[in-house]
């Protein structure tokens, strides 16, 4: 209530007027006080000056006539004026002729005016002396005091006037307060009596306007109420509809993924099977989406029929070709597995007819025998089943599938970060010529540098890179950085390429462009894995031909690890064979390995192909490599992979 009083309009008006008036009054008073005081001062000064001017001729005459007694007498007469504190008359040489002071002045009064007047000889302008009059400002002070008192009185009168004015304004506006009070409990449902309707002034106008408004609001309110009721009904209907849509799959009419989330939350101990139709995309592609949808509907119906009698199994459609069976009560494990296996078999027997076509489907099922994180775990089981080409797999904590997934995801993150921050770099390992013992070339090996400076070997991330489609990015980085590095270095260098790279047209164009840009066609050697090369012979052969035209050379990597087809190799027109490390590693001791290597070397020599021994890790192996006439050697014994190519090691 207090707050409301302080916001009162009447008070605001009065206070505003009061403040404005007070400011104006203060300004006027300040200005007028200054002017008045100055005027008072001037009046007093004028008085003193007038006295001096009046008496000056007489004093002048007396000085002129050399009558000092008369001067003293005149001075005494002047001193009768209570405002004159001192009269001093000096001659033209400033010698005192007369000097009279009042007692008050002698006591040391502080405030006074001093009027000095030059005394001229009568009937001449010749200076014959000076009159100094000390005039009290008592009169001035009295005037100022009177003025101040009058001002204060006026201010008090103004304040009283404003208070009365305030009260009057408050009284004038009080009907508004009453009207506001009556409006406070206004409700469109109840007719209210608005006061002051009969008054013939602005208040009366407001009251009448409010009364009219009241009637209109009442009518409008009634209409609005009817509309609201109607809308409320409609909203409820639509809400129900939307709720159904939210939890029901529109194609099959089955409860959807959201419905399953809710059911999982409400289930204390249950199990879950996720059913995925194998290669459903092919059905869509081959027969069309309408056929696909048709099959999905029929499949959903058949599943519904299969489990309609079991109230503890809830059928859901998760996504396109994925369904789920949620066990809201956990069955015995044996029954659970049997249900899954029976389901798979039953589905295999199902035939769907579409436009005279008989379409059969197969499903893969992932299961989890617990309700905690059931959907995620069943999904992992389903993916594992697909990967292992099994029709059913039950999620098992011991498989540590979840951890493996997490680890993979971490590596993907690391790889992306390393690519962004330019932390994928080539390391260079020297390849020595066994005749000259000098470096013949370098192999460029990929490394990932972690933020703490750790150098990560490709065995930890290459497989993940291939899965996450980052592999081609890594190859491009290696191609660019290696070509750039050897642009101005007089050494051959080799880069590893996967068949994935070779099959990628965009990558092949990139390689060509980089070779041209850095002018390294005569230095670069592409290393291709033997096993991969055989699987995609045609494509690899085409790539090799193209690169050969540029002047590039080709090496077959890990030769001897797979089932080498010498005939194919012959046609590929390769330059180097890199003998697989597993053969070289124990070459000094393993007689079988020696025989295989000898055969490879003989074969290569006949085709003018140079041989390279990898994994040369000690002197004994190195000596055996030389003994078997292998042309080049590479391995930790001879030189570790390093950041730069300053390795001038000579065996």
């Amino acid at each position: 209530m207090k707050n409301k009083n302080s916001n009162s309009l009447s008070k605001k008006i009065v206070i505003s007027i009061g403040i404005v008036s007070l400011l104006i009054t203060l300004v006027i008073f300040s200005v007028s006080e200054k002017i008045t005081k100055e005027a008072f001062y001037n009046v007093e000064l004028e008085k003193a000056d007038l006295i001096a001017r009046t008496i000056e001729p007489l004093i002048a005459l007396n000085i002129y006539l050399d009558m000092p007694d008369n001067i003293a007498q005149l001075s005494l007469q002047l001193m009768e004026n209570p405002y004159i504190l001192s009269v001093k008359v000096l001659d033209s040489q400033n010698k005192i002729i007369s000097d009279i002071k009042s007692k008050e002045y002698q006591k040391g009064i502080e405030e006074f005016f001093v009027v000095e007047k030059t005394i001229n000889q009568p009937n001449s302008t010749k200076k014959i002396g000076t009159l100094a009059l000390v005039y009290s400002n008592k009169g001035y002070q009295e005037l100022v005091d009177k003025y101040t008192n009058l001002t204060l009185l006026l201010l008090v009168a103004l304040v009283v006037l404003f208070i009365l004015f305030g009260l009057y304004v408050k009284k004038l506006l009080s009907p508004l307060v009453k009207i506001a009070a009556s409006l406070k409990y206004y409700s469109p449902d109840k007719k209210m009596d608005i006061p002051f309707l009969s008054q013939n002034n602005e208040i009366g106008l407001i009251s009448n306007a409010l009364n009219g408004m009241q009637q209109k609001i009442s009518e409008y309110s009634k209409k609005q109420k009817n509309i609201n009721n109607y809308l409320e009904e409609k909203v409820n209907e639509k809400t129900l509809e939307l709720r159904e849509q939210l939890y029901i799959d529109t194609l099959t009419g089955l409860p959807n993924r959201f419905s399953m989330f809710n059911d999982i939350i409400e289930t204390r101990d249950g199990a879950l099977l996720i059913i995925n139709i194998d290669d459903f995309k092919e059905i869509n592609d081959f027969f069309g989406h309408i056929a696909g949808d048709n099959i999905l509907k029929k499949f959903a119906n058949r599943l519904k029929n299969m489990f309609k009698e079991n109230e503890y199994i809830k059928l859901k459609r998760l996504s396109g070709d994925e369904f789920a069976l949620l066990f809201v009560e956990k069955p015995p494990l044996e029954d659970f597995i049997k249900t899954a296996e029976k389901l798979i078999k039953d589905v295999e027997k199902m035939i769907f007819l579409y436009k005279k076509n008989e379409i059969g489907i197969r499903v893969t099922v992932g299961g989890v025998y617990q309700i905690e994180k059931a959907l995620e775990k069943a999904d992992i089981a389903l993916k594992s089943a697909k990967k292992q080409r099994k029709s059913f797999l039950l999620y098992d904590e011991k498989l540590n599938i979840e951890e493996h997934y997490k680890d993979n995801m971490e590596w993907v993150k690391k790889l992306k970060k390393a690519i962004e921050q330019d932390m994928i770099v080539p390391y260079f390992q020297p390849v020595f010529d066994n005749n000259s013992d000098k470096i013949a070339s370098y192999e460029c090996l990929i490394r990932l540098i972690e933020s703490n400076g750790n150098v990560v070997s490709p065995y930890l991330f290459l497989t993940i890179a291939k899965k996450s489609r980052l592999y081609s990015e890594l190859t491009k980085i290696m191609i660019e950085k290696s070509c750039k590095h050897f642009e101005n270095i007089d050494y051959d260098f080799s880069v590893n390429l996967s068949v994935e790279d070779i099959l990628n047209n965009d990558m092949v164009s990139y390689i060509k462009q980089k070779i041209k840009t850095h002018n390294v066609a005569n230095k670069i050697i592409f290393e291709i894995l033997e096993s991969e090369g055989i699987e995609n012979y045609e494509e690899v052969s085409l790539f090799i031909s193209e690169m050969k035209e540029f002047g590039c050379r080709i090496a077959i990597d890990d030769f001897g690890s797979g089932y080498s087809n010498f005939e194919h190799l012959l046609k590929l027109n390769i330059d180097y064979i890199k003998i697989d490390g597993t053969l070289v590693k124990n070459l000094d001791k393993d007689v079988n390995a020696q025989v295989v290597v000898e055969t490879i070397v003989n074969f290569a020599q006949r085709l003018n192909i140079l041989t390279v021994a990898e994994f040369v890790h000690n002197e004994a192996v190195f000596m055996k490599v030389k003994e078997l006439n292998i042309n080049r050697s590479q391995g930790f014994f001879l030189g570790m992979p390093k950041e730069g190519t300053d390795n001038k090691f000579i065996v």
Partner: protein
Amino acid sequence: MRKVILLFFIFVNLAYGYSYDDLLLKAQASIFPKIMLLDKKIENKLIEGRIIYTIVYEKNDYNTALEITKFIDENYNGHFNGYAYKINLVEFSDLSSMTQASAIYILNSDKDIKKVADIAKKKGIIAFSYDVKNLKAGLLFSLMLEKSTVLYMNKENLYIQKIDFVDSLLRMVKFIDKENS
């Protein structure tokens, strides 16, 4: 003995005429020329560019007139505030309207005061009197040494058209008329 002394004074008095107050004479000799200069129309009264200060005396007072002349010369040294002056000694019997005078100073006399006053009025010049009583006979100015020096002026002769004193002088003089002595 007392009789002898009394007779001596009577004799001296008869032999040498009127007895003057020396101090009053000096005061008048000192102040009257200055008062003469307080006339705003003094320029009109110059004769051949000089002020002629005429002292009128009885035959017996010739020495007194000389003493006054000597005193004035000593004090003013030939100039009244820049104006050259000449002191003209004239016996009462020789005074006429033809006598040259810028102002007249009249020593004591019993008979011819009225005649002097008329001449001065006619000439429009100031007539100073040694004896204040003579103002009643028509002279303009006199001076007495009372508690202080007092200037007397004949009120009736104030409005002479040819004399125009500074206002302050009129404020400090004491006026005398026929009724008021």
